[in-house]
Amino acid sequence: MKLLNVSKMRVKRAGEIGGKALSYFVLIAVAFLMLVPFAYLLACSFKTAQEINLSSFFPKQWTGRNYVAVFEETVMLRSFLNTFLYIIPPVLCGVFMSALCAYGFARLRFPGSQVLFSCMMATLVIPNIIIMIPSYVMFANFYKWVGTPLPVMLPAMFGSTVMMFFFLNFLRTLPRDYEEAAILDGMGRGGIFVTIIFPLMKPAIITQILLCFINQYNDYLTPLLYLGNDEQLFTVQLAINQMNSAYAVETEKLLTACVVAMVPTCVLFLLCQKYLTDGISVTGLK
């Protein structure tokens, strides 16, 4: 009886090991499928113009010339500078404003707060596409801002409802003890937010800054619509798109530019993986 049991367990264990091996196989195969395109792109970026159309995966003669060319001959360098200039203020300012708003809803009582909150939640339902065209017309014809970075920067500086909601959920988990002590000390609400709440929200803030940064860095449609045709104003996404749609595409440089364009978000991801994965597990990206 006992013997039988042992052999049964052995069968079970063997099955478990087999299942484990199979599951690792699947995981590795998918990972491989995902990494191969990147490896191909990276390999191509080291090929010369003569070699780029040959079928070998790795270059026969490795060259770093494309990377030099991308920065020297195209607007890539300028577009990196532009992108950071365009997105840092909206990201920081927007995150701050969203956190501020979340604080207002979570801790302060004022007439109309419930109604306002419901209205804000309702805006989440409106598809972006409806807003796109009238915004464009308004920026183009009322404000005359098309061709400047303002339409890319300003709207995001006021914060966003999604971020606000994220912060609100975070604030609800925070204890109120510190604030109450501060109130008894006679500290104003503004002071409490800046000195107590904001530092306490640090993990959430960092997560949102990162998410916001990645989203804005990768945004293509907004700059495409608003930045016009002056390549000195281009963001990274527009710069690579311009190389892609040029009449005579230089494939090796285009692919190199793609590698370069992917680097900032990838580096950020590798450095701040914990914050990002935590944030995304709660809100999702894009």
Binding site: P149, G188, P199, G228, Y247
Partner: protein
């Protein structure tokens, strides 16, 4: 006791706020339109990159030459001034080259920073002129002592006329920069190998002659060429092999329709004439050539390989294209080639196709309309044309001996040998179908629907007559939707 912020926190806050503000201001400074110091009068011009680097370089050269010319005039004028009169400023022309020009242009309008002079491809002329961004140049041209309209090929100027409803007549809105006529390129080596006589350099083949000659390719390819296979037969084997040799890379219906005395739309664009017997004959012919004789690839094949690739790889003996590919062929073709007229019916043999063109328009609200017009005009003028001839794809816009000599001189010693064909084609060819109406939806729809005539299954295939009779209503309804004003105003 009321310390709201610690020093450290305060400092962090100040630094981060300053950082954000700094970024914001820098971004704005970059974005703000640059103001020029008052030393120059700056004229702006925008151009596309479709012509490659040679062309953009030449455009810059023309602009530079214009700049020098005007500045000499200004200097001479300033010399005559007395001391207390203010001298005129010299000018400076700024050229910006824009990728995917046609789609970018509307954002240029939206940004309200339209350059003083801008490039207008004739295919976009109708759409752009109807928005009212272009200055009416008729008066300027009439008063100009540089341009003689009688000498310029009529089709080069007429395609930039607009009368408020249709193109082709009315006021002039652009100065043509170039004209690129269409011809038939042919691979002499292949003609030799298959024993096909070269086409006549001056008289076009009739379509049926052409069909006979084109049919000689692809059936009896000789062993010496290394090919050991027999190709698709007339007897209905539908799968076309990769190495099938075509007589011609693509047949354009327009050249046959016009030369057969037919047309797509009536002159006032309110009637669709695609069901006339002459028109149907052409579509029948194309169906025959594509599906039965297999002398030209189906659109399914052309969607994977370009006509140019077919010609360069020796998979098509003839290739109907504009002057713009000449420099590519010079660089890339490994065989002997030349040009001949595009096959045409005898009814109206001269009108055997369309020519492409781009022109320069002047922005309606430019601060310097006179100067801007002179710059646009300079491209059309003899001086500008002589410089541009070197680009290798523009044909002189004139019937002017000096310009023609320059073309012969530039083309001498290079392929093709039949230089005269360019001039014949430039003189007679019309503007393309896109010039009929400001939008091309009607013609796109027609091209899309014509797929029904080229179904691989013969039982599903429509005949030309069936297709065109039905399509007439479709095209008419599109025109009625897109351009209701054509119909209402006429009724009143």
């Amino acid at each position: 006791m009321f310390r709201i912020l610690s020093w450290k926190q305060l400092l962090t806050w100040i630094i981060s706020v300053a950082f954000v503000l700094g970024c914001f201001l820098t971004a704005l400074l970059i974005g703000a339109p640059t103001e020029y110091s008052g030393d120059y009068t700056v004229l702006t011009l925008c151009h596309w990159d479709n012509g490659g680097k040679t062309e953009t370089d030449l455009v810059k050269e023309v602009c530079l030459s214009f700049e020098q010319k005007i500045n000499e005039e200004i200097e001479a004028y300033n010399q005559t001034l007395s001391k207390d009169e203010e001298p005129q400023q010299p000018i400076k022309v700024e050229v910006s080259v824009i990728s995917s020009y046609e789609s970018q242009f509307n954002s240029i309008i939206a940004a309200q920073n339209v350059p003083d002079v801008f490039l207008v491809p004739d295919g976009n002329f109708g759409q752009w002129v109807s928005t009212g961004v272009m200055l009416d140049l008729t008066e300027y041209v009439a008063n100009s002592d540089v341009i003689d309209l009688d000498k310029v090929w009529p089709s080069a100027v007429d395609r930039y006329r607009y009368n408020g409803k249709t193109m082709g007549s009315g006021s002039i809105y652009c100065m043509p920069k170039d004209i690129t006529p269409y011809v038939m390129y042919y691979n002499k080596d292949m003609f030799d190998a298959y024993g096909v006589p070269y086409p006549d350099p001056e008289t076009p083949w009739t379509p049926y002659e052409a069909l006979d000659y084109w049919s000689m390719f692809g059936y009896s390819r000789s062993e010496e060429l290394g090919g050991s296979t027999v190709y698709v037969s007339r007897t209905g084997e539908t799968k076309v092999r990769d190495d099938h040799v075509y007589g011609v890379a693509k047949i354009y219906p327009e050249s046959l329709i016009w030369s057969n005395g037919a047309d797509y739309l009536s002159a006032d664009r309110t009637e669709v004439l695609i069901d006339t017997p002459e028109f149907i004959e052409v579509y029948d012919y194309i169906q025959l050539a594509t599906m039965d004789n297999c002398v030209t690839p189906t659109s399914a094949i052309l969607s994977t390989t370009s006509e140019k690739t077919l010609f360069l790889n020796g998979q098509a003996a003839c290739y109907i294209e504009g002057r713009s590919v000449t420099s590519d062929l010079r660089n890339q073709a490994t065989f002997d080639w030349d040009i001949a007229p595009i096959p045409a019916f005898e009814v109206n043999q001269d009108c055997n196709g369309w020519s492409g063109s781009v022109g320069y328009a002047v922005y309606k609200n430019t601060p310097y309309p006179d100067l801007a017009y002179r710059l646009a005009e300079y491209f059309t003028s003899l001086e500008g044309q002589l410089i541009m001839t070197e680009s290798g794809f523009s044909i002189p816009l004139y019937n002017d001996q000096e310009a023609i000599d320059k073309l012969y001189e530039f083309d001498a010693g290079q392929l093709p040998n039949n230089t005269g064909e360019w001039l014949r084609a430039a003189e007679h060819q019309r503007a393309g179908l896109w010039q009929y109406l400001p939008s091309v939806r009607w013609k796109d729809k027609m091209a899309e629907d014509s797929g029904a005539m080229f179904e691989s299954d013969p039982s599903k295939r429509l005949t030309a007559e069936q297709f065109l009779t039905d399509e007439k209503e479709v095209v008419l309804s599109i025109i009625k939707t897109d351009f209701p004003e054509l119909f209402t105003l006429d009724g009143q």
